[in-house]
């Protein structure tokens, strides 16, 4: 009889980080399915490519840092970073653009900061923002168009476009995204005229509405499974919606709320990206502030900035604010009259 000496608690819930990440990955499947249905094979190929690259980059960095490779690879966090990038990048993004995004995400934003749990910025969004700034053309002209679905490129052709650089062929399948289209046309047209464009389709934004709906569904599943809490997605969407209602009620001047919610990367951002626990605020109150600010920033950048979408920049900007938010939003502990805000030794 050899007795194990262990400190309490002795019982543990069997849900490890790798399982949490696996559930997150599964929850993106409806969104990926919708993307594939409406925009062709591009996202699926991107996802596979990005996940493989992410795992490779993570393994290499772990080896260089002298960490146990399989122990850390099994936590699935690198795979999630790759997956999120694959879901966010334009469908026909050249392979090297994806590679730059993934490698900078894993190497620069994650491993060089100390690996899992130590990165102040959302790795996937660092990679995304980097390629968005560095390769603006590649990042704006490679969006597949749902309206062209009837003659969309097949699997082989998509592979050719992405990996062999058949960029001449790509023009036939791409178009500006609904957010981009609206933002640039509304200056000289009425809302009705702008919405005539095939990218909007009969609903809000052809294809995009389904993709966003599917990500919303997956996100709600994560909330139901208690992988994430409702605070960040709800406050993010509320922040975005309130800004839109307050400043952009006139559809002939500003992008309408329906497009804000259902046309861009809003739902993927709200449920899967802004909720990345490592780089988000921690307390309930903090999460509400963090999410709401991201929502406000998304609206601000989309409406008055140069970029048609703004999830990556908004999330990264708020990542900067997280330590500050965390210091000033601790919950009130049982038996205390008020929360102890601030830093010991300082006022507050």
């Amino acid at each position: 009889m050899s007795l194990v000496q262990q400190s309490s608690p002795h019982a543990h819930r069997a849900r490890s980080t790798s399982q949490v990440m696996l559930i997150v990955m599964l929850a993106t499947l409806p969104g990926l399915l919708a993307q594939t249905l409406f925009f062709g094979w591009g996202n699926l190929i991107n996802v596979v490519w990005c996940v493989l690259l992410a795992l490779g980059a993570e393994a290499t960095m772990l080896m260089l840092r002298g960490k146990p490779v399989s122990f850390f690879l099994k936590d699935n966090t690198a795979a999630v970073t790759g997956l999120l990038l694959g879901l966010s990048l334009p469908q026909f993004t050249p392979w090297w653009v994806s590679a730059v995004a993934v490698i900078s995400a894993i190497v620069l934003a994650k491993q060089l900061y100390g690996g899992l749990g130590a990165n102040p910025f959302n790795p996937a969004m660092v990679g995304y923002a980097l390629v968005l700034v560095a390769f603006p053309v590649a990042m704006t002209t490679n969006w597949a168009e749902a309206a062209m679905l009837a003659n969309a490129p097949g699997f082989g052709e998509t592979l050719n476009i992405i990996f062999a650089g058949q960029q001449t062929a790509v023009d036939a399948y791409t178009m500006a995204t609904p957010l981009d289209e609206y933002k640039h046309k509304i200056a000289s047209h009425t809302a009705q005229e702008v919405l005539q464009h095939p990218t909007f389709g009969a609903g809000v934004a052809r294809g995009w509405e389904w993709v966003n709906g599917a990500f919303l569904l997956g996100g709600l599943a994560l909330v139901a499974l208690r992988i994430i809490t409702w605070h960040i997605p709800v406050s993010l969407l509320a922040g975005l919606a309130l800004m839109s209602l307050a400043f952009g009620a006139n559809e002939d001047v500003y992008t309408p709320l329906s497009l804000h919610l259902l046309a861009g990367g809003t739902m993927l951002g709200a449920f899967f990206i802004a909720t990345d626990p490592v780089s988000a605020a921690t307390s309930h109150q903090g999460k509400l502030i963090y999410g709401a600010c991201i929502g406000v920033l998304i609206y601000t950048i989309r409406s008055w900035g140069n970029y048609p979408d703004a999830v990556a920049f908004s999330v990264l900007l708020m990542n900067f604010a997280v330590p500050f938010i965390d210091h000033y939003t601790p919950p009130r502990t049982y038996g205390h009259h008020k929360p102890r805000r601030g830093i010991p030794g300082k006022t507050g």
């Binding site: 262990q6 309490s8 980080t17 921690t282 601790p330 502990t333 038996g335």
Partner: protein, 604 residues
Amino acid sequence: MTQLWSFPGGIHPAENKHQSTSRPIRPATLPERLVLPLQQHIGEPAEPVVEPGDQVLKGQKIADVMAGIGVPVHAPTSGTIAGIERLPVPHPSGMADWCIVLEPDGNDTWCELSPVADYHSLDREAVLERIRQAGISGMGGAGFPTNVKLQPPRDRKVSTLILNGAECEPYITADDMTMRERANEIQKGLKIMAWILRPERCVVAIEDNKPEAIEAMRKATEGTHTEVVVIATRYPSGGEKQLIQILTGMEVPSGGIPADIGVICQNVGTAVAVSRAVFRGEPLISRVTTVTGDGVSEPGNFDTLIGTPISHLLTLAGFDPERINRLILGGPMMGYTLEDTAVPVVKTTNCVIAATEPELSTPPPEQPCIRCGMCAEACPMELLPQQLFWHAKARDFDRAEHLNLFDCIECGVCSYVCPSSIPLVQYYRYAKGEIRTQQAEQLKADRARVRFEARQARLEREQEEKEQRRQERARAAAEAQQRKQAEAEKPVADGDAKDERSARTAMVQQALDRKKAGAGTAAKAATTAEASAEKPDIGALEKQLNQARGKLETMESMLEEARVAEADNVEKLERAVAKNVDRVKRAEEALTEARQQLETEAGE
């Protein structure tokens, strides 16, 4: 329907209670020897009142606490005191402590008992003393002396008396089975406690996963004012703070006790012990203990004599040493592992779990924290477990304390839900321990510094006085010399001799004067002390001066010690003493001034 509140967080771990509730409470057989630790309660350890070789009867007091908080220990059966020695006791560290070893004679002969049929005829103090004499301390966990808990501060009105039958920890069923089988005794004990405390409400709280216990308690309390309240099953609803929150919506202030908000919590087992102490006159010599886990073939509850070795209980439950992986005293959330099965059952031992590896498996290696916040979601105290973990790990204890580390109840919920398998509670225990050690060391250093400074100041003062005396002597000598010269000029024959004598007398006179001056202040102090009876002003000043003098004295002695020990805080101590010398001087000045004022007033 009683209004209930909720508490934040909490978890639903696998209950594993059915294994030990299928059999009724069985009496445990008499072991070969009983080991009775002298400290089974919170407070001062008891001191033996028997000698090795003494014959004792069942229920006879064998150790008692003479001074301070604590309760006596009684012989659980008749037999011979085999020894008083240091033996392993139930403690997370596996430490040894003083225990009385009793060899049973097998007759189980009771000592003379004095039951009380009608406790109303006694004083409340008498009943409380009876409870103390019966050796009753809280049987739910901490083991706080029950009589002390039943005497809340007089200015606090007790609004609610809670009998805790929640038993929220998995595996443990001791309270459940006690309520099923001894509901009437529980109700009687509760009535006694209610008579002592006179609360507005009496509540028995039971989690809804114990329908039999609920039924039994409802039946026992029928027609009384006692409410049986069924609460939702959620760990840690049975934690004192959480249960109070559920039942009253109030929170025990941080660092306070439930009595601060008019609530007293008692365990159901304690109620049985109180009932027996009063109606049967029996002291606390046995308790119900759950023996469970896949490592025993016949899990169940045992009515166990205090002092029975765990190994004996395990044998009774069909223990298979080959299968078990860890042995836990208490529940799987807050219990601790045992190194040795020889440790005895004490008044707080509610459960022994003989767990196999698949049952309570060794957790996987710790992974990095991903700040997922599941711990904060689950924390019933609304702490930020992950921040506490970072600060504890980084030894940044100020920040950990700032985030209310000491409000952590160590319920283990955070570690339970942590997907990265981080032993969070252990980090908090470590941080608490380190902070307590640091505080103790700081206190010690402070004391040493004060002592040292006092000594330094005293030495300085002595030096000064010496110097002063030397100067006075020199002056006296010079005066004598002058006089001598002057006399030498006079035409007196024996002038020289006379002069020498007068110089000596002058010196003696001076020394006498100095002494008188010293005595004078003392005398004055005495007279003014009398005067101060009428003049409060002078009295206060006098007191101040005495205090300052006393402080100076202690400081000086400290300084001396520090000097002897060659401590490095000699300088600081010196400064402190100098400061105190100033203070004494000021106090003296103030006193003389006040006195003069009084005198002038009296003169007028």
